[in-house]
Symmetry: C2
Subunit: 379 residues, 2 copies
Amino acid sequence: MSESINDLKIGVLGGGQLGRMMIQSAINYNLDVSLLDPDPNAPCAHLTANFQVGMLTDEEQVYNWGQTFDLITIEIENVSVAALKRLEKEGKQIYPQPEVIELIQDKRKQKTFYKANRIPTADFVLTDTKDEIKTHASMLPAVNKLGKEGYDGRGVQILKKEEDFEKAFEKPSLLESLIDFEKELSVVAARNKRGEVACFPVVELSYHPVQNLVEFLFAPAQIPIDIERKAHDMAKDVIQKLDMTGLLTVEMFLTKDGEILVNEIAPRTHNSGHHTIEANLTSQFEQHLRAILNMPLGSVDLTTPAAMVNLLGEDGFTGKAKYEGIEECMSMKGVYIHLYGKKLTKPFRKMGHVTIIDTSIKSLKEKARRVKDTLKVKA
Amino acid sequence: MSESINDLKIGVLGGGQLGRMMIQSAINYNLDVSLLDPDPNAPCAHLTANFQVGMLTDEEQVYNWGQTFDLITIEIENVSVAALKRLEKEGKQIYPQPEVIELIQDKRKQKTFYKANRIPTADFVLTDTKDEIKTHASMLPAVNKLGKEGYDGRGVQILKKEEDFEKAFEKPSLLESLIDFEKELSVVAARNKRGEVACFPVVELSYHPVQNLVEFLFAPAQIPIDIERKAHDMAKDVIQKLDMTGLLTVEMFLTKDGEILVNEIAPRTHNSGHHTIEANLTSQFEQHLRAILNMPLGSVDLTTPAAMVNLLGEDGFTGKAKYEGIEECMSMKGVYIHLYGKKLTKPFRKMGHVTIIDTSIKSLKEKARRVKDTLKVKA
């Protein structure tokens, strides 16, 4: 096996920023990676001669494209599971497995899975109509999530009072108790085919209250060691119960009572693991490749405290992206800019991220704030 | 300036492994990089849609290709300086400057430059014929170097005794006293257009006695602080006297008397800086880009002791490259494999490198040796 990773033809569904950083890692091992994405100007479009344009959710397109490969993986979960199941039946290796992707595509199935497997999560009910949701007034304040189609903060809304029921989803959705959490945590776990599991150190996220996107990430999370252990055990438990091969990001709430609840999971590299490129011995992108190639997993050790700031399109600007403040950020020590190469910016679009490392937590936080205030994407 | 690095069209002469690692860095800043190389299967050939095949030493080809760009740089110094001079005259930015490349292409000019600028270097004489060399018997043992065409150990030979004069070069060459050195050191220095200079910590090299290629590199060099300072001052002195913009690698001898002599220089990223990818806050590839883009230079801090092992084609094997021992190396902590994507291997061809990091020097050396003994390129 070890001699053959260079001979495998690897296909990746999705050619966005996660694919882009995966390619940067794959170059080190001279892996033969091809990508499919609907956007001819996707972040990966010009990085390789092996980029094709196609609909990820179209069964026939994905199925036909997939014929060429030995191993298929994803960088986004909104893909045709039907195509992947057919390809798997015909002997292709598909990691994460199509069943896992299918489960995670539907937040209702996800929640049902947690419940069935006694994985702690916020209380919830499955709902199909607005009227049904209205019968659960006792759960307020609550979060109303669409089963499918939610991504990057879309398809998720908070219902505070009974008046808010008017905006409740009239589609298969779920209503979940709003957790008054102490912190939001995330663990990126990896598992290879031999069943080895490795979890990156727990990180702490702060979300922007309006955009519902990660604003700051800090690694390691400032939490007691027993909480760290509990979070790791839970991530390990989830990836094992899914019997999954690949990378799994487990987003969690730490409640004010010190309880940990699984919030959402993603079967892939994740925004909450970007700092691993500079701050850990192995990056999440390399770890993903190691897991799906059934190679030994890399060390997850964090070598320095780190922060991550998302670079979002500035509100009020739409059009060809222009970056402000790059030079000032480049003059700061331990600051790593990652631009995703998206030509067009729009309000709150993820255009890049910046990782900041520093041995002093105080200076780390100051630098993260300064980066956030300095680097802007306008049009 | 800072807002415009993404709008610059950047051309790189050469598409080998140094170009490949430069691209990995350039992706972070979404730089628009194109490459030219004579080999349609060069390490960069499939990494970008902007790869072209052409002769680097052909004036018209380089000149025509260069028309498209705002900024041109190199990853190999054996290129048409005449073309670069014409392009520079027409307003293109060329870094390193054509004059610097021209000087470094000829070892005779290099040595003459050191002498004229009082930069300590081994004693030498310029020679044109074998007969002329024979008149310098008093310099033996000595090194005989071709002025031009030397690369990766070619065009360099040691003349120990008078009998060896028979193999002396019958071409413009130089004869240099053989230095009985204590250590071979290297410093990668960077300088941007504003004249900022930054030197990476001194590293220590051990060359393979037969192949004349770097076998092991260790960072930092195990040398007293005053030698470190002297080596940095010398590298700084050389890059300033060249008035050069870009990266300059200065290879040095530390003599048994504690003297430092400049051996050779290269106006580009270098094998002796590969470890900076994992072991320093800024990699040499990013530093090169920062220098030529006139951006602030990055911090050169070494964050961990590191070693580097070149992965050379195994003696006795020629043909399609096969890698042995990858899995075992991937199971070692802090071991980073870089394969260059060369399809064909031949004895001693540079096929990749491995960086090893460890907080313990003892364990670092053990791991470097184990990598060297484990990872093999055969056919």
